[in-house]
């Protein structure tokens, strides 16, 4: 006797919907004729492709606005990016409100950093001596090239050909991955976001959440291309699991591990790495060789100072009370080796810049990025530099004033960055100061210079100015729309011009209070 299911199938189902091998199936040209409705896929538009970052052409100035415009045109990406980072900002605010002494902590953190930076040589020497007595090999690198060579040298000494590393902005600054590729050493990023960026051959777009500009459909596309996942499957758990399966064997078999450091403690000769994925611990503890690349500004005098920073760091960055892992490294494991490379790469020079040295207080929390209305709408890759967002605007020009000459202008100078900064860097005032410096160094476009010179002349001559105001109002009132709204009028491209009044205030005053002096 047939089951109910079978009876339904044979009696009620359209023959085209029956299973493979169904004797009643209709075959045409050797192919089974499918029921169009039954086999159709839901109508879903193709995912919006990820907008790419700024076009980098050697030393030519990065056009941040051009890349930002493409990011804004990718409406799904822009909306997700803005909302995600604003959410982090709101979580930060909630955490802040839970700490009555928040502003005091910020002042304390700033003071500790300023003290340390003004006594940097002494604390670095103290750290070096203590680290050596802990059994750490300490190296000094003047610049990016020296850093890369030192690390290469250590790896060569151990015959290492593969390196697992946790996220480090310093190594981005040093162009470390391309260098390692050129000398035949495989680098595997262990931070998930950074790994996504590595597989996509793209820079991190944010100092804490490096792939924050990507939708999960973008990640699905990258993984399908690089680790063979199903391109149509953008389920987060599926993607994370696939990545883990692909990367775990590489981690377990790596010859060496690398981390950065969030803080370096002079009095103990130790360093601290904060992560949420525990990936620094994998990088440091799986292989026997651990190399830590550390910028010289990361130093703090004493262990007790660490408490101030640990309370501020994750609250400012992600709005969580603390990172999941705060790992202290004191020396090599039995049978292992630990190396610290202390890197300058422009920091000493920056320390000598009167208006900009306090940018070295930065603890790379990314709070200024999360709060920045320009960054949230532009995407970090639009800056075409290692450091994006407000902190990037004031650090990048120290590396290359010409290439990054447009960046300090990519700000409305609203000052929110300064207020969220846990170490109280006056970021927006430094952005303003950089504009002056770049104009003095002639690193601004001629058109802008000509316009500003003309404005300066006009605004200092009352009679000429009066005539110009009258002409502008007349023009706005009488010119046809196409004359006002053309490509040359940057105001009118995406917004309406003001409605000209019948009379300026000046002429009203003359008519109504004219009797006064």
């Amino acid at each position: 006797m047939s089951t109910i299911r079978e009876r339904i199938d044979s009696a009620m189902l359209h023959p085209e919907l029956r299973a493979e091998g169904d004797p009643d199936a209709i075959i045409r040209d050797g192919r089974r004729l499918d029921h169009a409705e039954g086999t159709s896929k839901p109508l879903r538009p193709a995912p919006e492709p990820q907008p790419r970052g700024a076009k980098v052409r050697g030393n030519r100035p990065i056009d941040q606005q051009e890349a930002a415009a493409r990011f804004i045109a990718a409406t799904e990406h822009e909306k997700m990016h803005d909302e995600r980072l604003w959410d982090l900002r709101q979580k930060r605010d909630r955490e802040m409100h839970g700490i009555p002494e928040w502003e005091e902590l910020r002042s304390l953190a700033s003071a500790i950093k300023e003290h340390t930076l003004t006594h940097l040589d002494g604390y670095l020497d103290q750290f070096e001596a203590n680290a050596r007595s802990n059994g750490i090999h300490v190296h000094w690198a003047r610049d990016a090239a020296e850093h890369n060579q030192i690390v290469h040298g250590i790896l060569s000494d151990h015959g290492a050909t593969s390196l697992i590393k946790s996220k480090s902005m310093l190594t981005e600054e040093c162009g470390f991955r391309p260098y390692m590729a050129s000398v035949g050493i495989e680098v595997i990023e262990t931070d998930l976001g950074e790994r996504i960026q590595q597989l996509d051959n793209e820079d991190p777009s944010h100092v804490v959440v490096p792939a924050v500009h990507k939708l999960r459909t973008d990640v699905a596309e990258v993984f399908s291309r690089t680790i063979g996942t199903d391109p149509g499957n953008s389920d987060v758990h599926y993607l994370a699991e696939a990545q883990r399966e692909a990367t775990r064997p590489l981690i377990l078999n790596a010859d060496a591990g690398m981390t950065g450091a969030n803080f370096v403690v002079a009095e103990t000769g130790t360093f601290v790495v904060c992560t949420n994925e525990g990936n620094a611990d994998l990088s440091a503890n799986v292989p026997k060789l651990h190399i830590a690349s550390i910028g010289i500004e990361k130093i703090i005098p004493r262990l007790e100072h660490l408490a101030v920073f640990v309370r501020l760091l994750s609250r400012s960055a992600l709005g969580s009370p603390m990172t999941q892992y705060t790992s202290h490294f004191r020396g090599p494991r039995a049978g292992g080796e630990m190396h610290v490379v202390l890197v300058d790469n422009g920091r000493s020079e920056r320390l000598g810049l009167e208006e900009f040295w306090t940018s070295l207080k930065c603890i790379r929390c990314g709070a200024c990025m999360n709060t920045c209305p320009v960054y949230r709408r532009s995407g970090g890759l639009s800056y075409g530099a290692t450091y994006s967002g407000p902190i990037g605007l004031i650090i990048d020009p120290t590396f290359n004033a010409r290439k990054y000459s447009n960046l300090p202008f990519a700000s409305s100078l609203n000052g929110s960055c300064t207020n969220v900064c846990p170490v109280k860097i006056n970021i927006h005032e430094q952005i303003y100061a950089w504009r002056r410096v770049l104009v003095k160094q002639h690193e601004v476009p001629f058109v802008k210079k000509a316009a500003m010179k003309a404005a300066g002349v006009l605004l200092s001559r009352p009679a000429a100015y009066r005539a110009a105001i009258a002409a502008a109002d007349t023009a706005l009132a009488h010119l046809p729309r196409f004359v006002i709204y053309n490509g040359l009028n940057a105001w009118g491209k995406h917004r309406e011009v003001p409605h000209p009044p019948k009379q300026t205030f000046h002429s009203w005053y003359h008519a109504n209070r004219g009797a006064k002096r």
Binding site: F409, L459, S460, P462
Partner: protein, 247 residues
């Protein structure tokens, strides 16, 4: 008390009603208000773009116009922020320092100097969203910005609360920049206008009929953005409401 009225260039040209309201309001409190005829600008557009040398003559003109007043008052937060905090293209003589220190934005002048406790003539029965411009909020410290953990205060809300019938709405991002940013609005116009669209949409969603601000420059930008994307919104300067404008 002799007050010099500073009406910045764009208010003069595009928003004379704001200048008139400011003048009338100060006169209502019985002050001798003068408007020096040769005034143009404070120099901010050039300074804001990094061209400090280019604004020296304009700053010098400003000092010539406003020297000798007990106070200089202006209905523009960003201009006053420039005069008070950045006005250093010219030599800082005693005269220059004096003019800078005596220059006040209208809201802080009413709140801190005149300490006005009532606007009996003012009635504004509308739902308004307050836009604190960044120059007033974080520059002149009109109010506590949401980023800081300090006791709440807001000078514009203190003043507007004395207006009969007014109702405040709260946008989701009350002190996010609207994207004007001075020359940023033209040199980085795509990001600037996107910020403006988001700002006016946020206020519209909160139910505002009017966006009110102490900065006409932000309002000029926001109005241009609202009109372009079709958000029905009205814009009014705080001076107009305090002077008794009804709509």
């Amino acid at each position: 008390m002799r007050i010099g009225l500073f009406i910045p260039c764009y208010i003069d040209a595009f928003f004379p009603k704001v200048g008139i309201a400011t003048l009338e309001l100060l006169e209502r409190f019985g002050h001798d208000v003068d408007y020096p005829r040769d005034q143009t600008c404070c120099g901010q557009p050039m300074a804001n773009s990094g061209f400090n040398a280019e604004c020296a003559d304009t700053e010098a003109l400003f000092v010539r116009n406003f020297s000798g007043f007990d106070y200089v008052v202006s209905p523009s937060g960003s201009c006053v922020h420039h005069v008070r905090d950045n006005f250093d293209a010219i030599e800082q003589t005693d005269e220059v320092k004096e003019v800078r220190a005596r220059t006040f934005e209208l809201v802080e002048f009413l709140h801190d100097i005149l300490k006005v406790d009532a606007f009996p003539w003012a009635r504004f029965p509308h739902r308004v969203g307050l836009h604190n411009s960044c120059g007033t909020l974080r520059g002149l410290k009109h109010a506590l910005p949401s980023e800081l953990h300090e006791p709440f205060f807001s000078k514009p809300i203190d003043l507007l609360s004395k207006v009969d019938g007014i109702e405040f709405v709260r946008p989701a991002r009350p002190d996010e920049c609207c994207g004007f940013g001075g020359t940023f609005s033209v040199f980085e116009e795509v990001v600037s206008t996107k910020m403006g669209y988001d700002k006016v949409s946020d206020h519209a969603q909160a139910g505002a009929e009017y966006i009110v601000s102490a900065d006409s420059s932000c309002l000029m930008h926001q109005r241009g953005c609202a009109e372009r994307i079709g958000v029905p919104m009205k814009f009014i300067h705080i001076a107009q409401i305090l002077n008794g404008a009804s709509a």
